[in-house]
Amino acid sequence: MKKKNDMKKLINISENTTLALCLISLCGLVFNIVFYVILRITIINNEDIMIVADKIEVFLAIVFIIFFIFHISAIFSIILQLKFFKRESILRSFSFFVSVISLLMIFGDFALLSDISKEYIGGIKTGIAGEFLILYLSQGLHLLFLVLVIVLTILTKRRIYKKAMEEIVIKDESIFINANYIGVLCSVSGLGLLILLSIYSPLWAIKKGIIAITLMIMLPYIAIAVYWAAVKFKEKAGEWYDEKQYQDLAKASLTTWIVSVILLAVIFAFQYWYSKATILNVIWFPLYLFFSLLIFSSSILYLSKKDMASEE
């Protein structure tokens, strides 16, 4: 009981810190967006960007640092929630997924700004529009994450106060279910992005970025899997799951194997009979990875949830 109260205190402190950082980050995000808009207009008007950049580069660096600290704090909060609450939550899984992608995009923003400045110095202005588009989309992702954190913090605080006596859970099921929600989110995002890239991007661009994109999208799933492994490390391998979970895993694995063999057969057929199926030569592995993850995670969720119609 004492351990549980300590955990509640820790969650409270973590939530308060994250919320404070979230509000500061929100101001930082507005500042960033305004700066990017001014920067773009300055470049389009052929004006000297150094006049704009010199004045605010220090603030920009501070915003990046605050953003980074906020993301780490928020991810820590979500992990604490995953550990504390016995019920799984789609919102929490979604927030975790967005948090990891948003964290990576902080570095992405930095790289994009660096590219923009290089292209500006080199006098190349044609490619800048694409980079600004990604930069704006990235700010949209950061904004989504900030909103999710605010909503999640409010819900968590309410739940902690409401449910003073949360039941103790010995054999955890929430990480197991949440990990599969994240698996579905990663795979759907990955497949969606592969379809978009196949339609709108030239082959050379896909070839250049496919490994980084695949890793970036898989990272939330890898992170939750590493967390799960860390939690289970102290248990014996035979106790990692209970027997119902083992049965669900076996059924999901069999389904995944059958469906992935069919998918690979289709890919093979395309490559065999249509020698021009060059896009498949580049994306076949990410396609297989996201597809099999989707089948595996959704099968487990279906099997776990199908007879869980009601609460006690």
């Binding site: 016995k86 039941e167 103790i168 859970v169 010995i170 054999k171 955890d172 099921e173 197991f176 106790e239 209970d242 027997e243 119902k244 979970q245 049965q247 776990s304 199908k306 007879d307 869980m308 119609a309 006690e312």
Partner: protein
């Protein structure tokens, strides 16, 4: 088809919750829920653990319904 009186046993045992029973037996709440609903057949070991906890014979809790 394997049926069970698990719900009644829990009721008679001070209305112990699915989560409490799951903690004692060492499984997840979902597993207890699935057994109770007849959607999952427990192993002999798990059935024995459940029977042992309620201080009953396995066949007092689990039975075959031929209908």
């Amino acid at each position: 088809m394997l049926k069970n009186n698990l719900r009644r046993c829990r009721f008679e045992h001070n209305e112990i919750s699915q989560q409490e029973l799951a903690n004692i037996i060492g499984v997840t709440r979902l597993t207890i829920h699935s057994i109770e609903k007849g959607k999952f057949n427990p192993s002999v070991l798990l059935a024995l653990k459940i029977a042992d906890f309620f201080d009953k014979k396995v066949e007092d809790i689990f039975y075959i319904d031929n209908k």
